[in-house]
């Protein structure tokens, strides 16, 4: 059976070749753009048909995909390699996922996490969340998110108060209602964000979400440091500081705080404190063909 | 000349599930000479097909080895000059007989200028000409068997290995196969075929081997078996003429008004004839009384199975 021996030799050679190619291949596969990695998503109708009685599984695996993808990016961001996240593709995926399983809380939770600060698609986020409220009628988080989006991003305080109240009713915790009362004014923006993020970070179980909340919380707390220094400066000198450097020189800040998103804190002419990063990693959001909506 | 087939100590143990084992062949040794027609006899389950499949490389021997035309059966080229008919053959049934035979001929590297002619010839020999353009799906059992025989002839091999070539054939087909084997014999080809029908063997074979429970129990030329099988003669004499008393030492099998029938053991035949001559007894008919191959076969099988 010389044939068999030849086969085995050949097999060993091929395995060696395989070992040689698999690492570059894996590397190339890992760095594929998210949308390519995700593959073309069939239309929701097709996907519903194909996933047959496994809809929930398909839906949650789509959400999982997005979470893992985003987790990988924040991990790399820590190592200062910033790859622009593909927000439209993430949004598309989440939308498809909730069509398959409208009860999937991860989907809403995570959509809220990245659609707002990062992708700045507040309207889409609120629509998605409102859709979710139809199914997850018991879930106080959804109205809480909507309320925050209205209050913080859209400056629509009436709607914000409405949804915060709903969240309070559902959760039975007055805290959320009082949140609405306490911070719903322009000046309380940073405080509102910090309160929101603290609640979110506490409730987050997924390490990726938790970390992303903590990063943001850190950024806001640092912004708050600058704001406090600014207020002290104005009290003492009777005018607004022109830059963060001025605050440091004047001894109001020990040093210029570092923005974890890689931006720089600044003081706008009207005195408000901002950062060049806008509290988000630089993304590719915005130039999407189908603004994150489902493909229909 | 090269030996057609050489089988040395061939042993095959089938391993079934749960450790069940079947010893299908136990140290089989056999040689088939060039130009020899060999009949491989044995009862059901004796190991005939196992031997043949091993020769064709379809199953691997547990021990021992075999050669065809001095090439080891483990090499593909051992089958180059062999025409093989499987037991209850099945062929790609979506092909027509013509297509299948062309496929086989190509596999045997029949030169393309001969190919067409060979295909037609074997179709004609096996009387499949009219059905040649029909898919084999629609063939009867005997027709498929004929295709099987046709595909052994197509490359004009020197060695034929046929597993029950007569099975499924009508009397005309059987006669045809016998004729073909006799014709191959004339052309100096070797044929090794298995069967349980002794009559076929007697008519066409030079030698027979009898396998029982995986062991070769007998191996002899047909001629020898036939000769050894003669037990005696039945001799008919006319009554009323000569002195019949002189023959009273012989056993009488029967009488009527005109004739008497004696059974004469082979050894005493000459003595009987001379006594009859001396006593003016007229011998009207002499018939050999012998065990036929069937009896020989049954005897051996019985002996083999008793062991």
């Amino acid at each position: 059976m010389g044939g068999v021996k030849r086969h085995i030799t050949l097999l060993v050679c091929i395995c060696a070749l395989y070992a040689a190619i698999i690492l570059p291949f894996t590397r190339s596969m890992r760095s594929k753009p998210f949308a390519e990695k995700l593959g073309a998503l069939p239309t929701v109708a097709t996907l519903k048909f194909l996933s047959a009685d496994q809809r929930l599984f398909v839906g949650s695996s789509l959400v999982m995909k997005v979470i893992i993808y985003f987790g990988g990016l924040t991990e790399r961001a820590k190592n200062r390699i910033i790859i622009p996240p593909d927000y439209p593709a993430m949004s598309r995926t989440i939308h498809t996922a909730v069509k398959l399983d409208p009860y999937n809380s991860d989907a809403y939770y995570f959509a809220q996490a990245f659609l707002t600060w990062d992708a700045r698609q507040f309207a889409i986020a609120n629509d998605l969340l409102r859709e979710g409220m139809k199914y997850r009628t018991w879930d106080w988080q959804l109205p809480f998110f909507i309320g925050f989006n209205y209050g913080y991003f859209l400056k629509d305080y009436r709607n914000a108060a409405h949804y915060y109240k709903k969240a309070a009713e559902l959760s039975g915790q007055e805290l959320y209602a009082s949140l609405a009362g306490r911070y719903l004014q322009e000046a309380g923006q940073t405080d509102q964000a910090i309160a929101y993020l603290e609640i979110m970070a506490k409730g987050a179980r997924n390490p990726v979400a938790k970390r992303s909340f903590f990063i943001r919380l850190t950024a806001f707390k640092r912004a708050k440091l600058v704001e406090d220094a600014r207020d002290a400066f104005r009290k003492r000198k009777g005018r607004l500081p022109s830059s963060v450097a001025e605050l440091v020189d004047g001894g109001f800040l020990a040093m210029a705080p570092v923005d974890p998103y890689g931006g720089e804190f600044f003081i706008a002419p009207d005195g408000s404190v901002g950062t060049t990063s806008k509290f988000a990693f630089k993304g590719s959001g915005g130039q999407s063909r189908d603004k994150g909506g489902a493909q229909q | 000349m090269k030996k057609a087939i050489e089988i040395n100590n061939l042993t095959k143990t089938y391993k079934g599930k749960k450790g069940a084992q079947v010893q299908a062949l136990k140290g089989l040794a056999l040689e088939i000479m060039p130009g020899e027609e060999f009949g491989f006899l044995g009862p059901n389950g004796a190991g005939k097909s196992t031997t043949i499949k091993t020769l064709m490389g379809l199953i691997r021997p547990t021990a021992g080895d075999a050669l065809i035309l001095e090439e080891r059966i483990s090499s593909n080229s051992a089958r180059r000059h062999v025409g093989y008919l499987p037991e209850n053959p099945a062929f790609y049934d979506y092909l027509t007989a013509e297509e299948y035979l062309t496929f086989v001929a190509r596999a045997f590297d029949v030169p393309s200028n001969l190919l067409r002619e060979r295909v037609c010839e074997s179709l004609r020999i096996m009387e499949l000409w009219d059905a040649r353009k029909r898919p084999m799906r629609g063939y009867s059992k005997g027709m498929v068997q004929r295709v099987g025989l046709a595909q052994t002839l197509i490359h004009d091999p020197d060695v034929y290995i046929l597993d029950e070539p007569m099975s499924g054939l009508d009397p005309i087909g059987r006669a045809l196969v016998k004729e073909i084997i006799l014709d191959l014999k004339k052309r100096g080809k070797s044929v090794f075929f298995s069967t349980h029908i002794t009559d076929d063997v007697e008519k066409v074979c030079d030698r027979v081997g009898v396998i029982v429970r995986g062991k070769l129990e007998a191996l002899d030329s047909v001629e020898n078996i036939v000769r050894k099988g003669i037990e005696g003669y039945i001799v008919q004499t006319r009554l009323g003429l000569g002195r019949h008393e002189a023959l009273s030492g012989f056993e009488i099998r029967g009488t009527n008004e005109t004739f008497a029938e004696y059974f004469v053991p082979a050894a005493a035949f000459n003595q009987f004839m001379s006594l009859a001559g001396h006593n003016s007894v007229e011998v009207t008919l002499v018939e050999t009384k012998r065990k036929d191959l069937e009896a020989f076969f049954l005897e051996i099988v019985e002996k083999g199975e008793a062991r």
Partner: protein
């Protein structure tokens, strides 16, 4: 070998199940009307749908041809007559495989042309915003065909040891799903989000990842539908991966088949 390839092709073409599968290609005709449901991206949608349908037909063909062909030869005892010819079992197996692989490639190209017609038709009704990236569509079709050729090879691997069609068919389906998801699993276990997974599970998943075919590498549908530029070196690496992996599977199948008993 060529003889074997020819016979294999003949057997495929004369099979009724194959006719049924090809019949399902008629669904292509329905794509333009389905795609017109999309308000904004009719062309993109018809590209996605065409490629998905093509992929699905190829999957059926690959499963059916790869999973049953070898098994049927054994089951119907054709192997007795064919393997007693003076060809090696490797030749037999590879001849069969090449026949099916060639067939899949041809069907992919033909269906690719049909798909191109459908896409062109859709684009004619609602002109797309961006020009259609035909070369991306071609690449997606070809790599899809390669993927399903790999599926056929795994089916052959299972057929070379299995005694019924259960192993080849269901084994191949399992490998197909796991192989399509393995990149995702790999990303999952290497993601920081999952740092608390036991090390053993991670190692086991890594072994599975490196062992099983990575089918997701062959998916270029997004590039085709949205004109996302193709990455040349990525294509080459995938092609190299395909060749090497395919060889390994086919040689292993041949090895197992050589050692197999025909009874």
């Amino acid at each position: 070998m060529l003889n074997q390839v020819g016979i294999t092709l003949k057997s495929i073409l004369r099979d009724r199940v194959f006719h049924g599968i090809i019949f399902s290609a008629l669904i292509f005709l329905a794509i333009p009307s389905v795609a017109s449901l999309s308000m904004r991206q009719m062309t993109e949608l018809s590209i996605t749908l065409s490629l998905s349908l093509l992929s699905f037909i190829l999957l059926l063909l690959a499963l059916f041809l790869g999973g049953t062909h070898l098994w049927k030869d054994i089951e119907r005892r054709y192997t007795y007559s064919v393997l007693s010819l003076p060809i090696s079992r490797t030749t037999y197996l590879i001849g069969k495989f090449l026949g099916i692989a060639f067939f899949i490639l041809v069907v992919a190209c033909l269906l690719g042309l049909v798909a191109a017609g459908v896409i062109q038709f859709s684009a004619g009704i609602y002109p797309p915003e961006r020009p259609i990236a035909w070369e991306n569509i071609a690449a997606a079709v070809v790599f899809d065909a390669l993927k399903y050729i790999l599926v056929v090879a795994t089916a052959f691997l299972f057929s070379s040891v299995g005694t019924s069609f259960f192993l080849p068919i269901f084994g191949t389906i399992c490998i197909f799903f796991v192989g399509s998801a393995s990149q995702q699993v790999y990303d999952y276990i290497t993601a920081p989000a999952t740092a608390d997974i036991p090390l053993f599970t991670k190692k086991a998943a890594m072994v599975v990842y490196y062992l099983l075919p990575n089918y997701s590498a062959f998916d270029y549908k997004v590039n085709a539908a949205y004109g996302v530029p193709l990455d040349g070196s990525g294509l080459l690496l995938t092609l190299g991966y395909f060749v090497i992996y395919l060889l390994a599977v086919v040689v292993l199948a041949a090895l197992l088949f050589e050692k197999r008993e025909m009874n």
